[in-house]
Amino acid sequence: MNNKEILALLPYDEPFLFVDDLQEINNEGAKGSFHFKEQLDFYKGHFKDNPVTPGVILTECCAQIGLVCLGIYLIGDEDYDTSNILIGMSSSEMEFLQPVFPGEKVTVISKRIYYRFNKLKCEVKMYNEMNVIVCKGTLSGMLKGVKK
């Protein structure tokens, strides 16, 4: 499955799609990017007069690129019907090191720790345009595909 096909299968849409591009994907991991546009709605309230991207949104961005894109790729490899995938995040442990301000573009790199019995566990790292790490952690989720 190629990068474009994976993006088309993502089960998200605006305002909760946090993947623009996938640069790399293989059995061991994924690399993708997202541009946090200034107009995004949550900046109005987080924080008042001082917009910063919320940690939960950074986590979500890491999960969509690092866990879900990779999961779809892995499931596609197993001959599952990729248009019908059930996804749930089961645990997240993140550290936030630098703020991400409106207008920034981030790159997420994930490395598979394991994918077994429908559970995918990954190590994720997010970098800003200066290539400084902004957050990192471990995410896991359950992916259920329906056999073709």
């Binding site: 089961s90 077994r116 429908n118 359950m142």
Partner: protein, 82 residues
């Protein structure tokens, strides 16, 4: 390894993943992981991975499907060790 030793080893693994409202004393051979011990599917995978490490065995998808109760897990461990 004796049967009770295996059982104890398995209980030690399960214990880590029990939700707050379930205690170690609730674990019995007949306990169903999901419906009685309230262990979710993500944590059940962790239990299987810990069992693999602890007993130095490897489980397949079919084993996972059959592993409903603590007894089932012990049977699978036995079959892999034999």
């Amino acid at each position: 390894m004796q049967e009770d030793e295996k059982y104890q080893k398995l209980k030690d693994i399960i214990q880590v993943y029990l939700p707050e409202d379930v205690s170690v004393s609730d674990i019995h051979p007949t306990s169903n992981f999901v419906t009685e011990l309230n262990i979710n599917s993500a944590n059940l995978v962790d239990i299987v991975l810990d069992v693999e490490d602890a007993f130095n065995i490897r489980l397949e998808n079919e084993d996972m499907d059959q592993m409903q109760t603590v007894e089932d897990a012990l049977k699978i461990i036995d079959s892999k060790l034999s």
